[in-house]
Structures are given as C-alpha cells and as structure tokens.
C-alpha cells in the first residue's frame, strides 16, 4: 500500500519535506510506518518516538492498521500559547 505522511512542525524541517510518500506492506500499522520512515530519513528517526500520529481529525495509536491512500500526520511535541 502507499500512504502519504504529513510532516508538521519541526518534523517537516527534519524530513526536508512537508509531505512524504511511503510504500508499506499490506496490513501495516502506524508503528510499521514510523519504522520505515525512520529508516528512510535518518534525521527524522530520533524525533519519531515523541510524535503522536493523526488521521483525519483523530489521534491514532501505534497499533492502528493503515490503509492504502491514508494520510498520516506526524504531530511532534506541541508548544501553543
């Protein structure tokens, strides 16, 4: 399957792109996607354990299954206000 990863906040800078495409095996989870991302983008790897992930308007967890065409957003530590 192919998914798009939206790199928000500092992750965009670390990844060198706002959006990345990722090829994953069928039945891959968020955890699998993050492992693949960390392997592809070394500069991003260290930040990934501190990132939450979102799909649509929902936070999703490491064990959540992904589907072809999903858009996964990386949410690094927040600093509003």
């Amino acid at each position: 399957m192919k998914i798009a990863v939206q790199c928000l906040g500092v992750t965009g800078r670390l990844a060198g792109a706002a959006v990345l495409e990722l090829q994953l095996p069928e039945r891959a989870t968020v955890r699998d996607a993050l492992q693949a991302l960390g392997s592809e983008r070394i500069a991003l790897a260290e930040a990934l354990p501190r990132c939450a992930c979102a799909r649509g308007d929902s936070i999703i967890y490491r064990e959540t299954p992904l589907h072809d065409g999903d858009e996964l957003a990386l949410l690094p530590p927040v600093a509003g206000g």
């Binding site: 354990p49 501190r50 929902s58 690094p76 600093a79 509003g80």
Partner: protein
Amino acid sequence: MIVTYSRIQDSTLSLDAMIADSARPDCGALALFAGTVRNHHLLRPVTALNYSAHVAVAERMIREIEAQICAQHAVPVCRVVHRVGRLEIGDVAIYALVRAAHRAEAFAALRAAVDLTKHTVPIWKEEFYADGGSAFVEGCCIGDAADAAPASARRHDHCVAVASTLEEHW
C-alpha cells in the same frame, strides 16, 4: 445572535466576537486571558513567531477542552481561540474566556483551559531570532504519542501536571 467562529484562526483574533457570543445574564464573572508574543526566550532576543497547527485535530480538541472545563469546573461558558501564521512582537496568539456565576471558579477554569490548550493541542511555535536564526520550541508530547517509548522520551518536565488529564482525555 450566536456567532460561530473557528478556534484556529489565521488573522487577528477578535475578543469582541468572543464576548458577544458568550454573554449570559446568570454570570457575574468574565475572566479573560490573552497570550501575546514576547521579545525574548531563554535570554535570546526574539523578533517574530510563526504558529502552525494540525487544524482539524486542533479545532476538535479545543472544543473538547472547552466542554471538559465546563463540566469539571461547573462553569457555563469556556471559549479558546488560537492564532496561526506569522505574528509580530505584541500580537495576540491566544484568547481564552470563561464566564461563571462567581470569580473563583472563573479564574480556576480559565487557568485550566489555557494550560490544557498549551500542553495538548497540536500547535507549534517557531521562533525567529535577532541574530537571523530560528528554532521550533520543544513542548509537550501529546496523547499516547509514543505508547512504546520510555516515559522520559514522552514528557517534558512541565507536562507532568497535565499527564493524568491527558490519559483521561484520550
């Protein structure tokens, strides 16, 4: 007339709209907080900020925080709006408003609403410095961001106080 407005906005925030939208005859307290852009951070001169957000998640979460604060503090009105985009020194980044029958619960609810928003809503701040550099401010991990990561990697010192609330929230 009830005014509907986004909680994440990309232009100057309007306190007037929030006040007009929230007026109630049974409330004797109106507590307000405004967060403005300051010109320094950790002794480094700051010239401007850029806020960005995951708008869909941030909108939903701010509305959930408002509802949670109303329930926990028994106040009838809580509203939070946050700005995104480039802000100059002195610009307002966030307004929070609480109306309550009395001031004690209004102040407590207001503080809780601001703290929860700052520590849990996916909004990021990039600072621009007088020396030409810039950096993202490292804040709090959100949700079960890293459900497999050690706690030391997940939480920033000042986030511990809201951790239990977060776990209830998600």
